[in-house]
């Protein structure tokens, strides 16, 4: 199973990953609704990296009380089954699951061909 990998020494904090993610998933450039959030900022004189992205750990699927989340080559959320309870978001170690309108939104690596990886300009994101 291929996963997103992040090399922070190559990251320039441009947020293009979140922009293209939201384009493909939400139909507008809206990073606040993206399935990935990699950002940097200066904090107490240091460069800080915040790397929220799915590592396919499966915690969300295990936590789901209605078996709405399945993991094959990538994660799929059955929106019919999902009750938006937020159990998955609570357990997600990368804090990257969003619950909106009683549906869980989780990265599906664009069905195994992640747009963020294709975009990442300095190749800080890889899929391997």
């Amino acid at each position: 199973m291929k996963r997103l990998k992040f090399a922070k020494e190559k990251c320039i904090g441009c947020q293009l990953c979140a922009q293209v993610c939201s384009a493909m998933k939400e139909g507008e450039y809206i990073p606040s609704k993206a399935r990935i959030a990699i950002e940097t900022c200066y904090d107490n004189g240091n460069l800080k990296y915040m790397d929220h992205f799915c590592i396919l750990c499966g915690m969300c699927a295990k936590a789901c009380p209605v078996e709405a989340i399945s993991i094959g080559e990538y994660i799929q959320v059955d929106e019919e089954k999902c009750i938006g309870c937020g159990a998955c978001a609570e357990k997600c170690p990368k804090h990257v699951v969003q619950i909106r309108d009683e549906i869980a939104y989780i990265c599906d690596t664009c069905k195994g061909d992640p747009t963020c990886v294709k975009t990442c300009p300095q190749n800080a994101l890889t899929f391997e």
């Binding site: 990251c11 947020q15 922009q19 384009a23 507008e28 809206i30 200066y42 975009t119």
Partner: protein
């Protein structure tokens, strides 16, 4: 014509600081079609809204933050924000371009522009949290450095917020004060920080969690990714990630345009003591702006000095141009200037002018070439308007009018020279002279053609009016699209394609050139209305009387008549008269 367009938010936020109120209004789409966004749009609004003759430091001046239709999209290098107002340094219009993340945040907050009018009664800051606008007290922040201010506000609000702030220099209305954001990014020139200071506005805090809608988003995004891969993250542009602007040090030294000791000469044989390779050893990380792609920012720590940079300009002015070769001092100079809220170029140029004044015995400013610690200390005095700093805070134009030394006061219209010696790149003397805000290297950058690529002979005035124009036209449209200077390979074809795809309205390649020309003209029209003409398009006497003594451009001096001729050539290309004045019908045609 429809009144909205995809890519834009079609919304302007107007903030009345005097009444502490905010209103929302539609973007002038008639302006947007003619000027696109960012630089051009800001100047068009300034032309419309700033009465001629106003005091740049009075409440009637306005501060314009302007994005463009590409801001917030993944178009690479599109995250910059235009910050504009009438300049207290020059009396001309002044648009700065700030990096970091504040541009995309303003757009995601829902605005193409934010316009700040009037003046707060007490020191305060403005919070723009999507559509919620709040006026906050800044009594406790007043007097603090820009970095401390940003730290306090960042702690209060968190990383989702971008902060623009001024240091003591802006508060004290210094004509070389800047605005900082993300600590190390500046709207640097023309005293734009003093405009904020004059409004008692210490900071602007912005969060935006909304989105930007564009035409045919999936195909548009895929094409943008293709362009990013094929034209931006290429071998040609690799140096930006690896070196950033430190790469220019070698290029300028080799080309004979690296200034030495207040532009009295060029080149430094020991440039490798403080070049990018040295600085790289101290690098802690890389950082670009929002929507970047290239990542020019080098975050480093050397001794107790920290900064993202230093950029070529700061290395030069606090290095060879000051007779200094200590990389730690150069970084410290950069850090202190940023924190004090001073433009490194103008503040640096003023101190090195004072060094020469002292060494020549014209006036004792108590500082000589090579005195790095004192140079850093002087920044604080200038920002706080104390002691010798009071005189130096005037800048080279006003200080030299008071104490002499005008012939080597390196400035045009009251804005100090950037770090490219024009005697080694003759067109640059005209670029500085005709730039819409005084001596600026970003308006028309001649060293590429004249020195680095050597596609035009550097030591002649022939065809230089056209060269300066061609470069200026290109940058004027590029910066009106909010595209960073570093995407050097972008073409009018790519610009037109991106605008067309994003907005869903056709923009042609020919239009890009037309808009570029129009942007130059509207800037000139603003300045002409303020009384500027040929006699203000000047060159420092040193450049036309003293031959360079060293380096590849040794022996070069630009004869005054050649400078005059280049200027006339430029006016001819622009369709301006012999005095550099635009005919009324030309002005009418661009409004």
């Amino acid at each position: 014509m429809t009144n909205t367009m995809l890519g834009y938010q079609n919304k302007v936020l107007r903030i009345d600081l005097t009444k502490k109120g905010a209103t929302f209004e539609p973007l002038r789409m008639d302006f947007a079609r003619k000027y696109v966004g960012s630089k051009g749009l800001a100047i068009r609004y300034m032309y419309e809204e700033l009465e001629p003759g106003i005091d740049p430091l009075g409440p009637e001046n306005k501060l314009f933050l302007t994005t463009g239709p590409l801001t917030g999209t993944p178009v690479p290098c599109s995250g910059k924000l235009s910050v504009a107002a009438k300049s207290p340094a020059t009396g001309t219009m002044n648009d700065c371009s700030i990096g970091g993340h504040v541009g995309i945040r303003l757009k995601f907050a829902g605005y193409d522009m934010a316009i700040f009018e009037g003046k707060l009664k007490e020191p305060g800051y403005v919070l723009i949290d999507n559509d919620r606008i709040r006026f906050m007290d800044a009594t406790d922040l007043w007097g603090l450095g820009s970095h401390e201010t940003e730290s306090i506000l960042a702690k209060k609000y968190g990383p989702e917020y971008s902060i623009m702030s001024i240091g003591p220099a802006g508060e004290n209305l210094c004509v070389m004060s800047c605005i900082n954001s993300d600590y190390y990014r500046q709207a640097g020139r023309g005293g734009i920080g003093a405009v904020m200071g004059s409004k008692n506005m210490k900071a602007i805090v912005i969060r935006g969690t909304g989105g930007v809608k564009v035409n045919d988003i999936v195909n548009t995004t895929n094409r943008i990714i293709e362009i990013l891969r094929e034209d931006v993250v290429t071998e040609d542009n690799d140096f930006i990630f690896h070196d950033g602007t430190t790469a220019f040090l070698e290029a300028c030294n080799d080309g004979g345009i690296l200034p030495w000791k207040n532009f009295s000469d060029t080149t430094d044989e020991k440039w490798t003591e403080y070049n990018g390779e040295v600085l790289k050893q101290y690098r802690e990380g890389k950082r670009g702006c929002g929507s970047c792609g290239l990542g020019c920012g080098n975050f480093l720590k050397i001794g107790d000095a920290i900064c993202e940079g230093p950029e070529y300009e700061s290395i030069s002015v606090a290095g060879p141009n000051a007779g200094i070769r200590d990389p730690e001092k150069i970084v410290k100079f950069n850090q202190v200037a940023d924190d004090m809220g001073l433009d490194t170029i103008s503040a640096g140029d003023t101190i090195i002018w004072a060094m020469e004044m002292t060494e020549k015995g014209i006036h004792d400013f108590g500082i000589k070439f090579g005195e790095a610690d004192k140079m850093i200390e002087y920044l604080k005095l200038m920002a706080k308007n104390e002691g010798v700093g009071k005189d130096l805070a005037l800048g080279t134009k006003r200080a030299s009018e008071k104490y002499g030394g005008t012939e080597f006061a390196m400035q045009v219209k009251g804005l100090e020279y950037p770090q490219y010696e024009p005697r080694g790149s003759w067109a640059m003397s005209v670029s500085y002279a005709v730039s819409d805000r005084g001596a600026c290297h970003m308006r028309s950058y001649a060293p590429n053609a004249e020195v680095f690529e050597a596609s035009a002979p550097p030591y002649t005035g022939e065809n230089k009016g056209q060269l300066v124009y061609d470069l200026a036209e290109f940058n004027a449209i590029k910066f009106s699209l909010c595209i960073c200077d570093f995407w050097g390979t972008i073409t009018y074809d790519i610009m037109a394609e991106l605008l067309t795809r994003v907005t869903g309205v056709e923009w042609t390649t020919e239009q890009m050139a037309e808009i570029g020309r129009r942007v130059i003209n509207i800037g000139r029209a603003f300045n002409q209305r303020e009384g500027f003409d040929r006699k203000h398009d000047t060159v420092p006497k040193r450049v036309v009387t003293e031959a360079l003594k060293s380096g590849p451009a040794k022996g070069q001096v630009i004869p005054q008549e050649v400078f005059d001729d280049m200027l006339t050539q430029y006016y001819n290309v622009m369709g301006w008269d012999e005095n550099g004045l635009m005919p009324e019908e030309l002005i009418a045609s661009i409004l």
